[in-house]
C-alpha cells in the first residue's frame, strides 16, 4: 500500500531536497488528495466509494442500452432509472415502442416487471437477463455491493494503476456468486469487472468507460458488459443524464403506482 507521504512525494516528482521546500508542497498535496480512503485503500473504503459512484442514495437518470446480439444485430433501449434510499429502484422503459410503458420495480429483495398489455406486475428473479441483454436485472436495479458482498483486496491481480477487489456474495439475491473489480488507484473509479457463477465460471466481463462528472458526481458514463459464455454478445449501457439532487416520493415505489 502507498503511504500518503510517499504518494505525495511521488506526485510531486520527489525532487525536493530541502526540508523547508518539502513541507509546503506536502501540505498542498494532502489537500489535493481526492479522499483519504484512496490513499489508505481498504476493501471497505473502496466498496463504499464504488457504491457511492454507481448507486448514489437518491438519483434520477436517463440511460440507453444497446444490446449486440450474436447475429450481429443490435437492440436499442432507452429508459428512466430512479432510485430512492437503500433499495428502492424503478426503471421505466421509453423506447423502442415494443417496450414503452414496461416498468421494473425493486423494493428490498423483491423485483417485479409491469407489463402494460397485461396491466399488472409479475415477479422476476434478480439474475434474469435484463431485457435480453447481457446485464442481469440486479446489475441495473441492485447496486449495493457493500451489502451484497464481502470484499477483500487481492494482491495477485492488483496492477500499477488499479486496486483489485475480490468480492464473495453474502446473499443469494446478489447478482453474482463472485466478482472481481478493478478500481483506479488515482480516484477509486471502477475500470473493469469480472463476474463469476456458482461453479466459478467466468460469465460476464465489464469495462467501465468515459468517466465524467454528472453534477457533483463522477462516475463511468458507459459500461460495456461482455457475455463470456457467448463471445459474440455484449451490451453497452450509457448514462445520458444523471441527477443526484432529487428526492423521489416513496409513493412512486409501490406496485400500485406502476403503469401510472
Amino acid at each position: 500500500m502507498v503511504s500518503p507521504e510517499r504518494f505525495a512525494s511521488r506526485r510531486l516528482g520527489g525532487g525536493a531536497e530541502c526540508a523547508a521546500r518539502l513541507l509546503v508542497p506536502m501540505f498542498v498535496a494532502f489537500a489535493l488528495l481526492p479522499s483519504p480512503a484512496v490513499a489508505q485503500a481498504t476493501a471497505e473504503s473502496l466498496l463504499r466509494q464504488y457504491d457511492g459512484a454507481m448507486g448514489p442514495v437518491n438519483f434520477e437518470a436517463k440511460t440507453r442500452m444497446i444490446a449486440h446480439r450474436d447475429d450481429g444485430t443490435t437492440r436499442d433501449y432507452t429508459m428512466k432509472v430512479t432510485k430512492k434510499g437503500d433499495d428502492k429502484f424503478r426503471v421505466q422503459f421509453q423506447a423502442p415502442s415494443a417496450v414503452a410503458g414496461q416498468e421494473m420495480l425493486r423494493v428490498g429483495d423483491n423485483l417485479w416487471v409491469y407489463m402494460p398489455n397485461l396491466k399488472r406486475a409479475v415477479r422476476l428473479a434478480n439474475r434474469d437477463s435484463f431485457q435480453g441483454g447481457d446485464f442481469n436485472n440486479a446489475d441495473v436495479l441492485r447496486v449495493n455491493y457493500q451489502r451484497d458482498y464481502d470484499g477483500k483486496l487481492e494482491p495477485s491481480c492488483t496492477t500499477a494503476e488499479a486496486h483489485c477487489l475480490d468480492l464473495t456474495a453474502k446473499t443469494k439475491s446478489a447478482s453474482y456468486d463472485r466478482v472481481r473489480l478493478w478500481l483506479r488507484k488515482s480516484d477509486g473509479q471502477p475500470i473493469k469487472g469480472e463476474y463469476f457463477g456458482a461453479s466459478g465460471k467466468l460469465m460476464r466481463a465489464a469495462e467501465f468507460k468515459d468517466h465524467k462528472a454528472f453534477g457533483g458526481l463522477t462516475r463511468p458514463g458507459k459500461i460495456v458488459m461482455r457475455n463470456m459464455l457467448n463471445l459474440k454478445r455484449f451490451s453497452e449501457m450509457e448514462w445520458q443524464a444523471l441527477r443526484t439532487d432529487v428526492d423521489p416520493p416513496a409513493a412512486r415505489f409501490v406496485l400500485d403506482d406502476l403503469g401510472k
Partner: protein
C-alpha cells in the same frame, strides 16, 4: 449311413435310460432357454413402447428446422424461424409422410399469483399436434380445454389455454396463490421481454427423462407473445412406415432445400438409443450367464453318465467299437438333450411371451412418471438362434466327458474303472 443311424438310435435309448437325470438336465435347459427368450421378449416390448412413446408422444418420427438449429438451441433459436404454412405444405406433399405439425420451442417464465418459475415451452397447434403425437393426448388431463382428439368437438377449447407438467403445477400452487390469471413471459424474437395472459387449464405427464418444468401452450398465443405471427421454429412429422424413415428423410430434405435440416427421432432423442444399447448389453450378460450355467449342467450330466457306464464302455471297446465312435455316441447324446431342451425351452419362452404380449404389462418406462402398457414379443430369428445355441453349446460342453470316455482302457473299464 446305417451306422450313423444306429448310433443315433443307441444315443436316444441312452438318453431315455436314466430318466431322472435326463429330466433334471432338461429342466435346467428349458428354464435357461425359456428365461432368455422371455426376458428378450419383455425387453422387445419395453423398447418398442419406449420408442413409440418418444416418436408418437414427443419428437415425431422426423423433425425439420432451419439449418444449425439443433446445434444452436442454447443461443437464440427464435431467430432461426421460418414461415409455417408454405414449408408445411411442401413437407406434407412428400410421399410417406402421414402428418405434419408446427411447433415453437422457447424458454420463458410462468407466473401465477406471487410465484414466477422458469420453464421450457412448447407451442403447438392442438388441431395438428396430436395427429403426429397421439400418445400425448393420453398424458394430458385438461377436460378437453387444450387438446381434443381427432374428430372430437373442439367446443370446450379455451383460446389462451396452456397446460404444464404436474411437477410445475405443484410448484406454482405451493403458496396459496392470489386469484387472477396466469401470465407467460418470454423474451420475444428481438430479446425484448414480452408477456401474455394464459389460462392454466390442466396438467400433463411426461413420458421421457429430462427437464420436468415444461409447459404446452397454443401456437397462436406463443406467436403473439414472441412476435412470430405465422412463423415457427420446428416441424414434426409422422410417417406411414417407421422402416421407411431414411427414404422419407431424404425426400423431405430434397423438398425443403439446403436452408433446412432434417433429423430422425434417433438424432433428436439420442437418449433412447443409449437406453436401448444399455438394456441390450445387460441382457447379453444375463443371457451368457444363464447359458453357461445350463451348459455346465449338461457337462455334469455327461460326466456322470461316463462314470456310470464305465463297464459298458469297456464292453463296447472289447467287442471292437472304435474310440471315435464312443466320442460320437456321447456327443450325440448331449446334442439330443441340448436340442430337446432347447426346443422345449423355446416353446415355453415363446408361449410365455405370447401370453404376456396378449395380456400386456403396465411398466413405468425410464424417466417416465406414468406406467406404460408394454406388450412383449419375440422375433423368430432370435427364437431359432437360442435353440441352436443351446444345442451347439451342449455339444461343445460334452467334448470333455466324451473324450474322457474314449480314453478309458478296456481292461480297467471292464473291471469297473
Amino acid at each position: 449311413m446305417m451306422k450313423a443311424l444306429s448310433l443315433a438310435k443307441i444315443a436316444a435309448r441312452n438318453v431315455l435310460r436314466n430318466q431322472r437325470r435326463t429330466a433334471i438336465t432338461l429342466a435346467a435347459l428349458v428354464l435357461g432357454v425359456g428365461v432368455m427368450i422371455t426376458v428378450r421378449g419383455l425387453l422387445n416390448g419395453l423398447q418398442y413402447s419406449l420408442v413409440d412413446g418418444v416418436v408418437h408422444g414427443q419428437t415425431g418420427a422426423i423433425q425439420v428446422h432451419r439449418k444449425g438449429y439443433l446445434k444452436n438451441v442454447l443461443a437464440s433459436p427464435l431467430t432461426l424461424d421460418f414461415e409455417d404454412a408454405p414449408l408445411r405444405a411442401k413437407v406434407a406433399a412428400v410421399a410417406g409422410v402421414k402428418a405434419v405439425a408446427p411447433r415453437i420451442l422457447f424458454p420463458g417464465m410462468i407466473s401465477l399469483g406471487d410465484e414466477t418459475i422458469f420453464l421450457l415451452n412448447q407451442a403447438v397447434d392442438p388441431a395438428l399436434e396430436f395427429e403426429v403425437c397421439p400418445n400425448r393426448l393420453t398424458l394430458i388431463v385438461d377436460g378437453g380445454k387444450f387438446a381434443s382428439a381427432k374428430g372430437a368437438p373442439a367446443k370446450a377449447q379455451v383460446a389462451d389455454a396452456m397446460v404444464v407438467t404436474v411437477e410445475l403445477d405443484k410448484a406454482l400452487r405451493a403458496k396459496p396463490a392470489a386469484a387472477g390469471p396466469a401470465a407467460l413471459l418470454a423474451p420475444d424474437r428481438d430479446g425484448t421481454l414480452s408477456g401474455e395472459n394464459v389460462s392454466l387449464v390442466g396438467t400433463m405427464q411426461l413420458n421421457s427423462p429430462g427437464e420436468r418444468k415444461i409447459g404446452m401452450v397454443r401456437l397462436d398465443v406463443a406467436q403473439r407473445l414472441l412476435k412470430l405471427e405465422g412463423r415457427v421454429t420446428e416441424l414434426v412429422i409422422d410417417v406411414h412406415e417407421i422402416e421407411a424413415i431414411p427414404e422419407v428423410v431424404a425426400a423431405i430434405q430434397a423438398a425443403v432445400g439446403p436452408e433446412f435440416e432434417v433429423h430422425t427421432w434417433e438424432q433428436v432423442a439420442p437418449f433412447v438409443v443409449d437406453i436401448r444399447a444399455r438394456q441390450n448389453a445387460v441382457l447379453q450378460i444375463v443371457a451368457t450367464v444363464f447359458l453357461l450355467l445350463m451348459l455346465l449342467g449338461v457337462a455334469n450330466t455327461m460326466l456322470m453318465s461316463v462314470l456310470d457306464r464305465t463297464r459298458e464302455i469297456g464292453t463296447m471297446m472289447a467287442i471292437g467299437v472304435r474310440r471315435r465312435t464312443i466320442v460320437g455316441l456321447f456327443l450325440l447324446e448331449a446334442t439330443l438333450i441340448g436340442a430337446l431342451g432347447g426346443l422345449l425351452g423355446g416353446a415355453v419362452g415363446a408361449g410365455m411371451t405370447a401370453w404376456l404380449g396378449a395380456r400386456g404389462l403396465q411398466i413405468p418406462l425410464p424417466g417416465s412418471s406414468v406406467p406404460t402398457m408394454v406388450r412383449p414379443f419375440i422375433g423368430s430369428g432370435y427364437l431359432v438362434g437360442v435353440v441352436l445355441l443351446a444345442t451347439a453349446g451342449a455339444l461343445v460342453f460334452a467334448l470333455y466327458p466324451a473324450w474322457r470316455a474314449s480314453r478309458l482302457r478296456p481292461v480297467q473299464a471292464l473291471a469297473g474303472g
